[in-house]
């Protein structure tokens, strides 16, 4: 038990990332409100990005930008995770934009953002087709 706790404390960034991911996932799954679902999705993605970013950073090392000549490669961090985080953020932003526009459309039609209510409202439409 103590070992698990000390392992979690030693890797607190990864632990926080997974906790964030689970919070986001449960929001996306269990919240009826579409906007809250979207916020959940963003938290979930942030968890993944935190995981990546924390792995990419090593203490006492610098970004691999040459300022005063080339130093030992142990002095630099790996820049790839940061690049992946940036790509991921772009993807996440565009998905959020599309989802928000969908929410507007849904709201205009049903005057509610609660997905369960919308489902009930649309049910009778489905049956008469």
């Amino acid at each position: 038990m103590q070992e698990t706790i000390s392992a979690l404390l030693a890797n607190y960034e990864e632990a926080a990332a997974i906790i964030l991911f689970v919070i986001g996932l449960s929001m996306l799954l269990f919240h009826g409100n579409l906007i809250k679902k979207l916020i959940g999705m963003n938290i979930m993605d942030t968890g993944s990005f935190l995981f990546l970013a924390s792995m990419g950073y090593i203490e006492n090392r610098k970004a691999p930008i040459l300022v005063d000549g080339l130093r030992e490669f142990e002095d630099y961090i790996n820049p790839v995770p940061a690049g992946l985080v940036l790509t991921g953020i772009v993807v996440s932003v565009s998905v959020t934009a599309v989802m928000l526009s969908l929410s507007i459309r849904l709201y205009r039609r049903y005057h509610t953002l609660n997905v369960d209510e919308v489902y009930l409202l649309s049910r009778h439409q489905l049956e008469d087709r």
């Binding site: 996306l28 993605d45 599309v98 969908l102 919308v118 439409q125």
Partner: protein
């Protein structure tokens, strides 16, 4: 001839350019351009297929000449090229066959944007087929999701908005899980390219450390892509999505988009984890155990449906179950059978989705079975093609569906394990009976008068439900000659492919086997 090595990249980059170009064209020109462009793409992919089968070796295209651990790569073997040719052909046929309904369902000023999305979707499909980099896979996975959502929502009735929201929420869930899996695998291996990842994973497994983490990340990846492709029990979004989309979109979504996710999953199993390692992990049992209930419950839900489109959508869920069962068998023949089923399903299901709206069209635009009575007589060509596809789905010899089921049975025998053989045979038998139950029932319905005994030969065209008050344009009630011709061309191509897969199945299987040899 080495110039052909550039073609896989061309199929992705040119599709991205085309999507921008279609924004600038007007609707009809965009359609004409997309059709011509799809033909060019088929030619490019066929050239790659010819090249890799002639040289007998897969090739890797290194982007920007950055060597292996750093750069981004595209890889082409027989399997990738074959899938690209089949997918592009199905895409072309879907665009041709559903054109008439696109004019009805989509506002005329937005048709060019529809083709923008179709080209974007083509780029994503091609990238998922060719890529050798798992993060590129993630990016194009999201592009595929967004463009799928776009072609779904383009038909402006209320249900499509709801269907799109549900589709997107589930897909976002899947994407999030997939991203977590990719991040975990990257943290374990330190690579994103598939070849170095595989080397690192086999080292980890040989040292017997971190197997649990690999299993966990693979499980997360599998569930993520399983949600997106409609693995049991995540198939409940299918009927709303496929049932409300315009026919071209329904055909593309069910035959291509959801299958592209399975191809990516397959790639991860073979090229990232390595199939020897994968077969030691418990994940393939998970697939096997979820595939079989998918086959049964998908069919049971289809039987209970009263709407032909939703019935076919549930049948897609059942067919996806077959594919996952094949992946889960853990034998080389199981993978061959799963890939054959993937191709057979793409060819059959797309034609079904293109044909049912024609039956509905002569039945007062109703998709309910009681109104469809006798529609096969009112529109003879649609009835004929529907019957052919139904026979294929049930698994009558001569058609693709039969060969697929046969290969699953052979693969189950080949494993030599009773634990696989018995459930597979039972599931195949039960699912064949269930398939027959709802497809043959539908065929009988579209050719008979039903209880009322009314005159079924007269076409019933009622007032338009989709009539767009805003556009104010008169709707084409009767079909023009060119619309009819394009449906016939696409139906004949898809039926031809179906018969080819059924009658000469060994040719496709040889290609798949050759491809799998190159794939590892």
């Amino acid at each position: 001839m080495d110039f052909i090595r550039n073609f896989p990249l061309f199929t992705i980059i040119l599709s991205l350019f085309s999507s921008v170009l279609c924004m600038l064209l007007d609707g009809r020109k965009a359609k004409r351009y997309t059709v011509c462009y799809a033909c060019v793409l088929i030619a490019l992919a066929s050239a790659v297929l010819w090249y890799v089968s002639a040289t007998g070796e897969p090739f890797t295209y290194v982007m920007g000449e950055f060597p292996a651990p750093w750069g981004n790569e595209i890889r082409a073997g027989v399997l990738e090229a074959l899938l690209a040719v089949v997918f592009l052909t199905v895409l072309l046929c879907s665009v041709l066959g559903g054109w008439r309904f696109l004019l009805i369902d989509v506002e005329h000023s937005k048709i060019n944007l529809y083709f923008t999305l179709i080209n974007l979707l083509t780029a994503a499909l091609m990238a998922l087929i060719w890529t050798n980099d798992i993060f590129t896979g993630y990016v194009f996975l999201e592009i595929l999701t967004l463009s799928s959502c776009g072609i779904l929502i383009v038909r402006e009735i209320g249900r499509t908005t709801l269907a799109a929201v549900r589709y997107m929420v589930l897909n976002l869930l899947g994407s999030g899980l997939f991203l977590l899996g990719v991040v975990l695998l990257y943290s374990l291996t330190g690579h994103l390219l598939m070849v170095p990842m595989r080397a690192a994973i086999s080292e980890i497994v040989a040292a017997e450390g971190g197997v649990t983490t690999i299993t966990f990340s693979l499980a997360v990846l599998t569930i993520g892509l399983g949600i997106k492709s409609g693995l049991f029990p995540f198939y409940f979004w299918m009927p709303d999505t496929y049932g409300t989309a315009t026919p071209t979109s329904a055909a593309i979504l069910s035959a291509l988009a959801s299958k592209a996710y399975i191809i990516l999953l397959f790639k991860i199993y073979w090229r990232v984890v390595g199939i020897e390692v994968f077969q030691q992990l418990p994940i393939h049992w998970l697939l096997f155990c979820l595939g079989i209930p998918g086959m049964i419950f998908g069919s049971v839900s289809a039987i209970r449906e009263n709407n032909i489109h939703r019935m076919i959508a549930f049948s897609s869920a059942a067919q996806t179950g077959y594919i996952y069962m094949g992946l889960g068998m853990g034998s080389p023949l199981g993978y061959v059978a799963a890939l054959f089923q993937l191709i057979a399903h793409a060819v059959t299901k797309s034609l079904l989705f293109l044909t049912t709206p024609r039956l509905a069209r002569v039945s007062g635009d109703s998709l309910l079975f009681q109104n469809l009575q006798g529609s096969g007589i009112r529109d003879r060509s649609a009835g004929f093609f529907f019957t052919l596809c139904a026979l294929s789905m049930v698994g009558i010899p001569v058609f693709a569906g039969f060969s697929a089921k046969l290969f699953f049975a052979v693969a189950a025998v080949d494993t030599g394990k009773l634990g696989v053989l018995f459930p597979t045979m039972l599931a195949l038998a039960v699912s064949a009976v269930l398939n027959a139950l709802y497809f043959i029932r539908t065929v009988i319905r579209i050719y008979t008068a039903g209880r009322g005994g009314a005159d079924i030969s007269a076409p019933r065209i009622y007032a338009e439900e989709h009539n767009d008050a805003d556009s104010g344009e008169p709707l084409p009630m009767s079909e023009t000659r060119s619309e009819r011709r394009s449906y016939w061309v696409s139906a004949l191509i898809l039926t031809g492919m179906n018969l080819f897969l059924g009658l000469f199945s060994w040719i496709t299987v040889d290609f798949i086997r050759l491809g799998l040899d190159m794939f590892a």
